[in-house]
Symmetry: C2
Subunit: 128 residues, 2 copies
């Protein structure tokens, strides 16, 4: 199948698939006319990537995951370790965002939000 169909099946934009080929994540064959030709194997790989990306794994993580996936003898501990490191990062990002959110919430609460110019939000930004 061509890239459009592969994109539909894998749930990825065609542009993204071309990019993945550029950086060596997939290597579809080419037809005589130069079109990329995708088989089920490639589409499966692309769907794998789409899923991993949707879980927030970086492209580098995805590369690792793919190679682990294709290594029939790997230890599940390696995969689990990778996932755990990633989970930790996500926890950190959530924590950071929650901090921001809490501060923002307080400021929003403190601000009347009417036509008057007095604004605790700007006061805070300006250094209290």
């Amino acid at each position: 199948m061509n890239i459009g169909e592969a994109a539909r099946r894998a749930g990825l934009p065609a542009k993204t698939i071309r990019y993945y080929e550029d950086i060596g994540l997939v290597a579809p064959h080419r037809d005589a006319n130069g079109y990329r030709r995708f088989g089920d194997r490639e589409v499966h790989k692309l769907a794998f990537l789409a899923r991993a990306r949707s879980l927030g794994f970086s492209i580098d993580d995805c590369r690792m995951l793919l190679s682990l996936y294709e290594d029939r003898g790997r230890a599940s501990a390696e995969v689990r370790g990778l996932a755990q490191r990633h989970a930790k990062e996500i926890d950190a990002r959530i924590a950071r965002l929650k901090e921001m959110r809490a501060t923002l919430g307080e400021l929003i609460e403190a601000c009347a939000g009417d036509e008057r110019p007095d604004c605790p939000i700007l006061k805070d930004l300006a250094g209290g």
Copy 2:
């Protein structure tokens, strides 16, 4: 004062300050030797930006916030609206990350993480 001192006081890298000048957020004067000269006003503005950025506001939001800050007659409702939109975005990002984290948590839990190759994480990525 020169850019280094301004950077120290505002809590921003000098590079970032130069960038902020490039995109028109600040406009320090120049000494005869070409060095940027910052007064307390500029440093105050930079600290304002640093604080707003640390709360996750985009550069465009910061531009808006600065202009609201410098408009003595603005309605606090405008600032509050901006902050609320931003808070909503953060909420969305947190929600998205929490979803990822939950799925990751389940997968990590399900994976033995030993020397055997059987791995629920890879199974999930491969489409269940």
